[in-house]
């Protein structure tokens, strides 16, 4: 089992490189027959690649899902926001102590209707990752989110949250500014709202960091996203004192979108385009948008108080035990 995205993607990259090289040869080849033969080979490669991707992505194991969900080529929150909404005005500040670029938030226009958006943002290169703190939100991020939730309530705006975080920030400063309180208070705020809330997990739904902005009426997951109580490596370190056993832990934790759906913890798994969201971010965004609109409309059919109650009821029944 591949331990990293890079290792796992290798056969695909090699096939793609092969096709690239063939295309280059075809472009400079003057002999018509040879050109045709090369084209045939390129076509075979393409079919092989297509089939390889097809097979692979139709039977991703839990650990492979983790790799895909974390892939740096995967569309991130702002990619989705820019594609889904006609307009987005990013707002900032927790009105307490600071800004947090791991969280992006603000009002947006969804097919002309105002919504409030809160999401976690990863970075693609080293600079961005530092700036976004690897999408690990600090207390400031959750408190910014709370500000947005409260505004959404006042201005009767449905709320959309977009989850993509490995975890909340575990640093010393976050502890000293109450990261735990901030996560809990963010959920508390969400449970107080009478406007619809829909959450979409687009990549990593990392434990407390994720649920902190996912106390929604409906929770949707992209097909290859994951949602887990603990990172598999952390689980393996505790259970087997071996972080390298992440793949085994991933299986034990049942962290795939499919498992979450089977357990009744998410309302819908949004299918990803052929070969994963990263192969067609535009189509991915379209599908998210369609699901988002549909679920928001369904939730909005109820009265404000009923919307709040439905959210309570949704979470109230979660848990598996015997007896009464």
């Amino acid at each position: 089992m591949a331990k990293s995205w890079k290792e796992w993607e290798k056969p695909i990259l090699e096939l793609e490189e092969g096709i690239d090289k063939l295309e280059q040869l075809i472009a400079v080849e003057r002999d018509v027959e040879k050109k045709a033969s090369l084209a045939l080979r390129a076509q075979e490669y393409r079919e092989k690649l297509h089939k390889f991707i097809d097979v692979r992505y139709s039977r991703l194991g839990p650990w492979e899902k983790v790799l895909v969900a974390r892939a740096e080529t995967r569309p991130y929150t702002l990619d989705i926001i820019n594609a889904v909404f006609d307009e987005f005005v990013e707002l900032d500040g927790d009105r307490r102590i600071g800004t947090d670029h791991a969280v992006v938030a603000g009002p947006a226009s969804l097919e002309g209707r105002p919504v409030m958006v809160v999401g976690q943002q990863k970075g693609r290169n080293i600079q961005e990752r530092g700036y976004r703190n690897f999408a690990m939100a600090k207390p400031e991020g959750y408190r910014k989110a709370i500000r947005m939730f409260e505004m959404a309530e006042r201005f009767r705006m449905p709320v959309v949250t977009i989850v993509d975080t490995p975890a909340a920030d575990p640093g010393v400063e976050s502890e000293s500014r109450g990261i735990s309180e901030a996560i809990a208070a963010s959920m508390l705020s969400m449970f107080s709202l009478t406007v619809p809330i829909v959450s979409v997990i687009i990549g990593e739904g990392g434990s407390g960091g994720a649920i902190g902005i996912a106390a929604a009426n409906r929770v949707l997951m992209l097909e290859h996203s994951v949602y887990s109580v603990i990172p598999p490596e952390g689980c393996a370190a505790i259970l087997w004192r071996d972080p390298a056993k992440g793949p085994q832990a991933a299986a034990a934790l049942k962290l795939t979108a499919q498992s979450a759906h089977e357990l009744g913890l998410v309302e819908e798994v949004i299918p990803e385009p052929f070969g994963g969201a990263h192969r067609d971010p535009g189509e991915t965004a379209d599908r998210i948008k369609e699901a988002m609109l549909r679920h928001l409309a369904e939730v909005a059919m109820s009265s404000p108080e009923a919307i709040k109650q439905a959210r309570y009821d949704r979470f109230r029944i979660l848990g598996r035990f015997s007896g009464q």
Partner: protein, 277 residues
């Protein structure tokens, strides 16, 4: 846990050793001082029965929701065995006990987490019990008191455990809506998924001295930033300075502090109860 001093190979039940300063204590005195070391003040961990006995009016605690017990929904490796061992060791069904009690004659809704049961970890059953304790308070107008002692969410129930964070927090919101005071007491340790859910959004938060209180395992959060961490990082004292606690209350003052808080913050419930009655 307390290590009984061996005397001729056999532990002598008349003596115990403080886990902190290692001094030998008379068991009777130790129990009389609520299991606080008379030399170093160390607050030894309590099981739920001791906690109830030290806190509420004598014989007033009535356990509820005893019928629910854990499943193994993920068929997680070794979970069933570990869970059975914990049951055998503690005599508990799961890590949280809930019920009602009287506090200086006033009814309160109670949940007590016991660290001895799988590190007090929160799975479906403990999440459900905490939720029921909060809901009972909200619905019946009783102040809610929860003693926290937990390493966090129980990973063996996977995402179901994570969902308990949201579920219990929703029940806190219900208490807020209904104007029912909810007091949390952080005892050693109060961590991770429990701290980041119902524990931290209590109206009033008390803690026992030196209790470990934090979000991330100390190893994780110190890793990168060990130079920034104060000596008392993730203790009640550190968390108090961070503005997250109302008071650090020595065990001998815990009951009287709770009595006052319930009387003062629950006064309106009392009045309304009077009106009805």
């Amino acid at each position: 846990m307390l290590v009984r001093k061996p005397a001729g190979g056999q532990p002598n039940p008349n003596f115990v050793q403080c886990v902190n300063c290692k001094k030998t204590l008379f068991t009777a005195e130790f129990e009389a001082s609520l299991r606080v070391c008379q030399y170093c003040g160390h607050h030894h961990r309590l099981n739920w029965r001791q906690r109830v006995a030290f806190t509420f009016d004598a014989d007033s605690f009535v356990e509820t929701d005893t019928g629910i017990s854990s499943l193994d929904p993920l068929e997680f490796p070794e979970y069933a065995e570990k869970h059975q061992q914990a049951q055998a060791k503690t005599g508990m069904v799961d890590s949280v006990i809930c019920g009602t009690a009287l506090l200086d004659g006033r009814p309160v809704s109670v949940a007590v987490s016991d660290f001895h049961f799988m590190g007090g970890s929160m799975g479906s059953v403990s999440g459900e019990k905490v939720t029921r304790a909060l809901e009972r308070g909200a619905n019946e107008g009783m102040p809610v008191i929860i003693f926290c002692a937990s390493g966090g969410a129980r990973m063996q129930e996977g995402l179901l455990s994570l969902m308990q964070m949201a579920k219990t927090t929703a029940a806190v919101e219900l208490c807020r809506t209904r104007g029912v005071p909810y007091i949390a007491v952080f005892t050693d340790p109060t961590m991770a998924g429990v701290l980041a859910s119902y524990a931290s959004v209590a109206d009033v938060i008390l803690a026992e001295p030196k209790a470990l209180v934090g979000f991330a395992g100390a190893r994780v959060s110190k890793q990168a930033q060990v130079h920034k961490a104060p000596d008392d990082f993730q203790t009640a004292e550190f968390v108090f300075r961070s503005g997250m606690l109302d008071r650090i209350v020595p065990r001998r003052e815990m009951r009287s502090t709770l009595v006052s808080l319930v009387r003062l913050l629950g006064g309106h419930l009392h009045l309304e109860a009077k009106k009805v009655g």
